[in-house]
């Protein structure tokens, strides 16, 4: 028996679908169009410039600096957040930790609940050369020679920002991995224990392979996060000193709203779009393949 379609039932999906189309899809498609024009935020006049925005983007002096900074952020985050975060998750799930497990897990997770702005401002103070925690600590342990100007140093600035992000998000990734490890069937683990496999052996041959899907998802969200990087840099160095800690996301913002060069911002947006969407498609493939 085939039910007749009630057209009024489409009213359930229309409002949500409309919002997503109007405020997510339309702007993103418009952004691609804008990237071929020169336009300002104050007037509605647009001048077609073909690929000129892209030429200016790829040949600007800042371009290699930002790409390098985004890649540094990406690689270090993969090693620390995903790699080390997984190690933390394995340690917490091993039989050695016992009751303290929940305490450690929560402490590591808490920084990810604080807004990026608050964390950025807090680390501004921690890195402050005169009144900051880091230099104060170095002085207290008798190593004033190691004191730095941190965020004010051209070479160190981006790494200070990267370190801050590791502080904030390693526990978050660890939490995601813990949940994946908890879904590993006890049967496998008991069988391994009977076979005499130690904790490290169990980690490598059971936990990691069975949670590899989640591990990939974690890697991909970390990589996407690295190319969307904005607030962390905006609240600490604003890309400085000079352009030393510039990244794609902040470059987009500054072109659009400080230099009134919205075409250039749109072209930067298209670049971020290509990078993040490619990675998201891979992520969706992985999550969906695991469901059936």
């Amino acid at each position: 028996m085939k039910k007749k379609v009630k057209w009024s039932n489409y009213l359930y999906i229309i409002p949500g679908l409309f919002m997503v189309l109007a405020f997510v899809y339309v702007p993103i498609i418009t952004n691609v169009v804008y990237s071929f024009f020169r336009l300002s935020s104050y007037s509605s006049s647009m001048k077609f410039v073909a690929l000129d925005n892209y030429r200016r983007l790829f040949t600007s002096d800042t371009f290699p600096v930002m790409i390098r900074n985004n890649i540094y952020y990406c690689v270090i985050s993969l090693i620390v957040q995903v790699g080390f975060g997984t190690v933390i998750a394995l340690v917490l799930e091993s039989k050695l930790v016992g009751r303290m497990n929940a305490f450690y897990r929560s402490v590591y997770f808490i920084p990810s609940l604080i807004s990026l702005t608050a964390v950025g401002l807090m680390f501004n103070f921690i890195y402050n050369p005169t009144a900051g925690m880091l230099n104060g600590f170095l002085k207290a342990i008798g190593q004033p020679g190691l004191q730095q100007i941190w965020l004010g140093d051209r070479k160190l600035a981006i790494f200070c920002i990267i370190a801050m992000s590791q502080w904030q998000y390693t526990g978050y990734i660890a939490m995601l991995m813990i949940v994946a490890f908890q879904n590993v069937s006890m049967d496998y683990i008991e069988a391994a224990i009977i076979d005499g496999a130690g904790p490290i052996r169990r980690a490598i041959s059971i936990y990691i392979p069975l949670a590899k899907e989640q591990l990939l998802v974690c890697s991909i969200i970390t990589v996407i996060g690295a190319f969307k990087l904005f607030t962390e840099v905006y609240t600490t160095t604003s890309g400085g000193p000079g352009d030393a800690s510039q990244v794609l996301g902040l470059f987009l913002y500054q072109n659009a709203f400080l230099h009134d060069d919205m075409g250039m911002a749109a072209a930067t947006g298209v670049l971020i779009f290509v990078i993040t969407v490619t990675l998201s498609i891979i992520q969706l493939r992985i999550t969906r393949s695991g469901q059936d």
Partner: protein, 280 residues
């Protein structure tokens, strides 16, 4: 002998593991403790030695921070979050219901379209969205952030709710249909009450997003009365210039709500976050 040796090794390993985990706890907690301590000092004390204890804890710094505008940003964040979350949950649950329970032709395509929104990042939409908000006359109104928040969070929320709705047994609905219930009645009398746990998870995870969001708020809002906490903190920094300790107190207060929320509702938090992993 053999057994004893194994036991010793195990104790040694346990100590080593805890040592490792405690060092990590210190790395996480020390910056927060430092923030807390200095938020109780005078500016002179902080500059003299920022890692010393305060002579007298000055809780008035906190009161100062609260009264100097933080109160206003809190209120604004509450209103913005309430509006956004109501919109997100309403539209996403209707959408998820329509896509899972009503056998509508084209559901599969609509599902893919909405889900695809999850892959699209806010920054890429920023420039056109700014022009749209201006054209609609919404710039510097609460809706300027609420509408994009709703739109950008529907994909994730729909995905979360959909998998839960799929698990609701059809028999419940069929019984209701025999009793003459309409699809709308089934939705709010059966589906929504059963889904309360997943709705709670969705609400909390979205609250965490909206409460901490900075990019859109920074660009679409100008009026101090409308500013949410993350944006307020940035403005606060500009206002206070060299009054560091009050600023630190402000950062501390601004960070509390989500942390407290997590400590009270860990289960919902973790379930929501892990069912659709997205960052920042």
């Amino acid at each position: 002998m053999e057994n004893n040796h194994g036991k010793n090794k195990r104790i040694f390993m346990t100590i080593l593991v805890h040592l490792f985990l405690i060092i990590l706890v210190l790395i996480i907690v020390l910056p927060m403790c430092w923030l807390f301590l200095n938020s109780l000092k005078t500016n002179q004390e902080m500059f003299r030695d920022s890692i010393a204890l305060p002579a007298v804890p000055r809780f008035e710094n906190w009161i100062n921070a609260w009264n100097k505008g933080l109160y206003n940003y809190f209120l604004s964040s509450l209103i913005t979050s309430a509006m956004s979350i109501a919109g997100i949950l309403l539209l996403s649950s209707l959408l998820a219901y329509g896509l899972t329970r009503l056998n509508l032709p084209g559901s599969g395509i609509f599902f893919i379209i909405v889900l695809g929104g999850m892959a699209l990042s806010e920054q890429v939409a920023l420039v056109p969205l700014f022009k749209m908000i201006q054209a609609l006359g919404l710039y510097n109104t609460r809706l300027a952030v609420v509408l994009p928040y709703i739109a950008f969070r529907i994909p994730f929320t729909m995905f979360l709710l959909r998998s839960y709705f799929l698990g609701i047994p059809k028999e419940l609905e069929e019984a209701a249909i025999l009793d003459g219930a309409t699809t709308l009645q089934i939705f709010y009398r059966i589906v929504l009450p059963i889904s309360r746990p997943v709705l709670a998870s969705a609400a909390i995870v979205n609250l965490n997003f909206v409460w901490n969001e900075f990019l859109f708020a920074n660009i679409f809002l100008e009026d101090r009365k409308l500013m949410t906490i993350p944006l307020g903190l940035m403005t606060f920094q500009g206002d206070l210039k060299s009054d560091y300790v009050t600023m630190l107190a402000g950062i501390l207060i601004a960070s509390m709500p989500m942390v407290i929320m997590y400590l009270c509702m860990q289960k919902q938090f973790v379930r929501g976050l892990t069912s659709g992993a997205v960052k920042g």
